[in-house]
């Protein structure tokens, strides 16, 4: 009985959202209704890996391009953010030195970084990676830093009493103690990276879910905008869940 309710309640929510969507589509004639969206999108969903040309591809293929771009940007971001977080966590001097600049850089929108990336790298692909990396790194920097600061005095005492070298202390104490915080940072960073991808693809017109969205808007196929929006949401949700599972595994071990 409880299981049925657990399944039924989310379905009710989805049903109500669809109803709201349908009502909006009645009020605004340009907005396709759920049914029309499905009719016009089903080719992309039922043949998700089809390649019919540069601007006409299955939705999974498009999502795959976006994901690969996100993966590269995200990895670049955390490759910079993780060591930075450790350094800031260990050294109060460095924190005081870089905290103001970090606070200023953190709220800058990806839309602002992207033109700078284009100026710096001349090409759209590295500019997109640059924007993703710069925007998504902050949660990892801050969480790693917090993780290092939250290491209990007991563990530092162990390092002191056993006279562990700096390297050993880092590998055997600081990293394992910070790992759960780091992963929370990665999870948040990945979420931001996925937000940035759409904006950067829209601006640079590269193939991917975001690029597809902008292209279909320009070709007045509004149903495909909704298809792209739903895809972005579902993929983002799946990514967050995956990272959540990884995080939970880590905390349990």
């Amino acid at each position: 009985m409880k299981r049925v309710i657990n399944l039924l309640l989310p379905l009710c929510g989805i049903g109500m959202a669809l109803a709201a969507w349908w009502a909006a589509s009645v009020a605004v004639p340009d907005l396709p209704s759920p049914v029309r969206t499905w009719e016009e999108s089903k080719l992309y969903v039922l043949e998700p890996l089809a390649y019919r040309g540069e601007s006409d591809q299955g939705i999974l293929l498009l999502a795959y391009y976006s994901l690969m771009r996100v993966a590269r940007g995200f990895l670049l971001g955390i490759a910079i953010a993780t060591p930075l977080g450790f350094l800031l966590g260990v050294s109060a001097t460095l924190t005081r030195m870089f905290d103001p600049i970090m606070q200023v850089l953190r709220p800058i929108s990806p839309l602002a970084w992207l033109p700078l990336g284009l100026v710096l790298f001349q090409k759209s692909e590295p500019a997109a990676l640059f924007a993703i990396a710069v925007c998504s790194m902050w949660p990892t920097v801050i969480n790693t830093m917090m993780g290092v600061r939250a290491i209990p005095q007991d563990y530092w005492n162990v390092a002191k009493v056993l006279r562990l070298s700096r390297t050993t202390t880092f590998i055997k104490i600081i990293v394992p103690a910070t790992l759960p915080y780091m992963f929370t940072g990665y999870r948040l960073s990945l979420g931001i990276a996925w937000l940035v991808i759409v904006a950067s693809e829209m601006l640079t017109g590269t193939p991917g879910v975001g690029g597809f969205l902008w292209q279909e808007y320009n070709s007045l196929v509004y149903a495909h905008i909704l298809l792209a929006i739903i895809t972005i949401g579902v993929v983002g949700f799946a990514l967050d869940r995956l990272m959540g599972v990884a995080e939970a595994r880590l905390r349990a071990s």
Binding site: V158, V161, T168
Partner: protein, 285 residues
């Protein structure tokens, strides 16, 4: 010259309410191979003193000389056991002990390090729990791992900071005996300084008891020798005349210091009350 010599040791900490003098003019001699217990109430500055002796912190004034050398940091031949186990939760019992062995014998091969760690755990009866993580072990077992880690490094000096303070009474008894056996079962003696708030524990384990008096700032009282044959048991201590004598002596010097500490407080109490009363009176009226 004693193995461990402490002269004129003072330590204070800054607090929002002003400087807090924790220790003042502490003098202590510990002979080679001796087991000395420092007994005092909670908050008497015991742990601060032990940290200074072990070189974990440095004093404001005064010196600590160990084996002819001034203590400036943690020595390679010293081991420490903390009240709260201080095991790393992501490592198994064996890996925790091995971390200590690696640090103490960096030249030894991996096999040799593993053998030493395994033996140390077997000596405390944990041969079948090598691969368990600390959270899979009871409090008593965790503290046995800590003891194993300390003894696996074959220390010449051992610092124990209320090692059994977090354990229930029965486990505590068992571990006290384990510690006594570990100390006795070594080829060369280990000089030990233990901090405890249990007079009974001090009598059971030590050659000499030093009461910590009137903290803060704390200083050390006259030491009381415990001349009882080993091995000792708690049952035997309950009726032994020597033990009774030592117990009375320690308790007397500790209560004397506590009374000294509380007297100015009780004298001040009526004043505070009378000052509060007139301020309160207008309220209801």
């Amino acid at each position: 010259m004693a193995f461990l010599e402490v002269r004129n040791l003072s330590k204070s900490f800054p607090t929002p309410a002003g400087v807090r003098h924790v220790l003042k003019d502490v003098q202590l001699d510990v002979e080679y191979g001796e087991f000395v217990s420092l007994v005092g109430a909670m908050g008497s500055g015991k742990s601060t003193l032990l940290s200074l002796l072990a070189g974990l912190t440095s004093p404001d004034t005064g010196t600590v000389v160990l084996d002819g050398k001034p203590v400036t940091g943690v020595r390679s031949d010293a081991a420490f056991v903390f009240q709260n186990y201080s095991l790393l939760p992501w490592f198994s019992a064996l890996e925790n002990v091995r971390l200590g062995v690696q640090a103490a014998f960096p030249g030894a091969s991996a096999d040799e390090q593993k053998r030493r760690a395994t033996e140390a755990l077997e000596r405390v009866g944990l041969g079948n729990a090598l691969d368990r993580k600390p959270r899979q072990l009871s409090g008593g077992m965790r503290q046995r791992v800590s003891l194993a880690r300390a003894f696996a490094t074959e220390p010449r000096v051992l610092f124990l900071d209320e090692p059994f303070g977090a354990l229930d009474a029965l486990t505590r008894d068992a571990l006290q005996q384990d510690l006594a056996q570990l100390c006795a079962g070594r080829d060369r003696p280990v000089t030990t300084v233990m901090i405890t708030n249990s007079v009974e524990e001090a009598i059971l384990l030590s050659d000499r008891i030093v009461p910590i008096v009137s903290g803060p700032p704390a200083s050390l009282g006259a030491s009381i020798p415990v001349e009882l044959a080993r091995p000792r048991t708690l049952a035997q201590l309950a009726h032994d005349e020597q033990a009774t004598h030592a117990r009375a002596h320690v308790v007397a010097s500790l209560t004397a210091s506590l009374q000294r500490r509380s007297r100015p407080l009780s004298a001040g109490a009526p004043k505070a009350l009378s000052a509060a009363e007139p301020a309160k009176a207008p309220g209801p009226a």
